[in-house]
């Protein structure tokens, strides 16, 4: 029952949405796809902003089917639009309170002080007029405004895409904190792989109005049969724990089931959970344990799958330990020289690790 089950079809001039997926109603589910893939339309259908044919159940509650259509304002959801869309005729405070006032007292689960604190909103409230806020600040208010309605589910439509890099960096920690502290499932529309890899737990992949894959983030991103494997920034996501800081060399060791990685020194206390991303292009393969290499992260791995990636490249999927998957992109020539094949034990050399927090 703790699921989101959606099935929609919608015909629009020149575009057809025919999407169905189910995702766990916990954590962050990314609706990922290129522009025009229908991810925003799908999100709008879920919100009831588009009247599509289909059905929708959220946590066992029926929101839409053949005979039922809950209008948007009757769906207990929060929606964060691409642009903050604050009401210009209302103060920052009145914007925040707009949805809160319309939420029955018995349904108010999210304490306003908490949201204000988490999103650092009290300084923004003091400034009064939304026009005086920066883009990132406005988006924080918009997120707060949605959260104050104590939504059963939070829908976010590329909430960062209208922001510049600085504002993005400023707001991402707030999003991560929300996901950690609030027990509200999030559907997050994005076309930016780095955002998805950083925030999502579950991935729904869209192409031309259809859902082509849906599953756990790290499993889905590791699939070589999906378009995501062809991306220049294709890679694997690793959930790791901060294990140890090396003060002398200014390094931090991250442990994950099946291995560990050394990365530049982090501020996190030992024991903290972090997410790291290892891009396929940053992983090379050796058939023997390399000696005398400058690369310090070398992991024993077993080849699970090899797939052609264009005329000159192949993608290789490897397993580290029992559960961690790693991708590598190498030339066909190297594959043939090393005579790589499925089931072979190899060594993965990780040139660089992108830390997500």
């Amino acid at each position: 029952m703790n699921e989101i089950r959606a099935q929609f079809s919608l015909q629009r001039d020149g575009f057809r949405l025919d999407a169905s997926f189910s995702a766990p109603a916990v954590g962050v589910t990314a609706l990922f796809g290129s522009s025009g893939s229908g991810k925003t339309t799908l999100l709008r259908c879920i919100a009831g902003l588009e009247r599509a044919q289909g059905s929708l159940q959220v946590k066992g509650e029926l929101w839409q089917d053949k005979t039922t259509f809950l209008p948007t304002h009757k769906r207990p959801l929060g929606y964060v639009f691409q642009e903050a869309s604050l009401f210009t005729h209302l103060s920052v405070r009145a914007n925040l309170e707009y949805g809160l006032k319309r939420t029955p007292i018995t349904e108010r689960k999210v304490p306003p002080e908490q949201v204000i604190e988490w999103l650092g909103l009290s300084r923004l409230i003091e400034r009064g007029d939304p026009a005086k806020l920066s883009g990132g600040e406005r988006q924080r208010v918009a997120i707060g405004r949605a959260l104050l309605t104590s939504p059963r589910i939070l829908l976010m439509d590329e909430p960062l895409s209208a922001l510049d890099t600085n504002s993005k960096q400023e707001i991402l920690p707030y999003l991560e904190r929300l996901h950690r502290e609030l027990n509200i499932p999030v559907l997050y529309v994005s076309h930016a792989m780095d955002e998805v890899a950083r925030l999502a737990d579950h991935l729904v992949l869209l192409e031309k109005g259809c859902v082509i894959a849906s599953g756990k983030l790290h499993e889905t991103l590791a699939r070589l049969d999906l378009p995501t494997a062809h991306y220049d920034d294709a890679g694997a996501v690793i959930e790791a724990t901060v294990a140890q800081h090396d003060e002398k060399y200014h390094l931090t060791r991250l442990d994950f089931p099946g291995g560990s990685l050394w990365v530049g020194k982090m501020d996190h206390a030992p024991g903290s959970k972090v997410r790291a991303r290892v891009l396929a292009r940053d992983v090379s393969i050796a058939t023997q344990q390399p000696h005398g290499s400058s690369i310090s992260n070398i992991l024993a791995a077993r080849i699970l799958e090899i797939r052609d990636e264009g005329p000159d490249k192949v993608s290789v999927k490897m397993m580290i330990g029992d559960s961690q998957v790693l991708l590598s992109r190498i030339t066909r020539r190297s594959r043939d020289l090393l005579a790589l094949s499925v089931g072979m034990d190899v060594f993965a050399q990780v040139k660089s690790v992108a830390l997500m927090a």
Partner: protein, 226 residues
Amino acid sequence: MPQLAPDDLQAVWLTLKLASVTTILLLAVATPLAWWLAMSRQWYKGIVSALVALPLVIPPTVLGFYLLLLMGPHGVVGDLTTALNLGRLPFTFAGLVIGSVLFSMPFAVQPIQNAFEAIGRRPLEVAATLRAGAWDRFFSVALPLARPGFLTAMILAFAHTVGEFGVVLMLGGNIPGETRVLSVAIYNHVEAMEYASAHLLAGGMVLFSFLVLLSLYLAGGKLVKV
């Protein structure tokens, strides 16, 4: 300084009353109409828009004449009002109000419609995701955001009604205190070669109209598109 004759004073008072009643009624009628025109994607929206704009191009006397026919004993509206025991509308204040509402319709609908269109759908969608129902959205978001448009519509409708002549002339019958408004009074003074009284009233009207338009441009210049 010449004094206003009691008749003329009555005409001024009647004109203000007509303009006020017309403006209030117009807001009540034009707001839903403008809303529909701004939001609708129906094919017949163009037809409705054209109908609303028609008084801009029809000579007022022609509009007045058709209303006279329609509201008369051989007209559809006349039949209706008679059947409802309301009597007939020509030569009554109510008839003038109806004529004025139709005549000034585009001046009220278009600024409001423009204002609604300028808001777009997004703020209303945002409000819907924040638990606001349709009426709530309209009153808490659409109306306040469209306020400049309403201001323009009110001022234009009022001023246009004050200056209206052709429709009133055709429909009114020049009854003091009932249908003899300022513009007709001025016309009659001119026709009767009573130029002093005509100047007094006409001058006052020019001044009034100027002040109205001035306030419109000063107060709303940035916000209001006429």
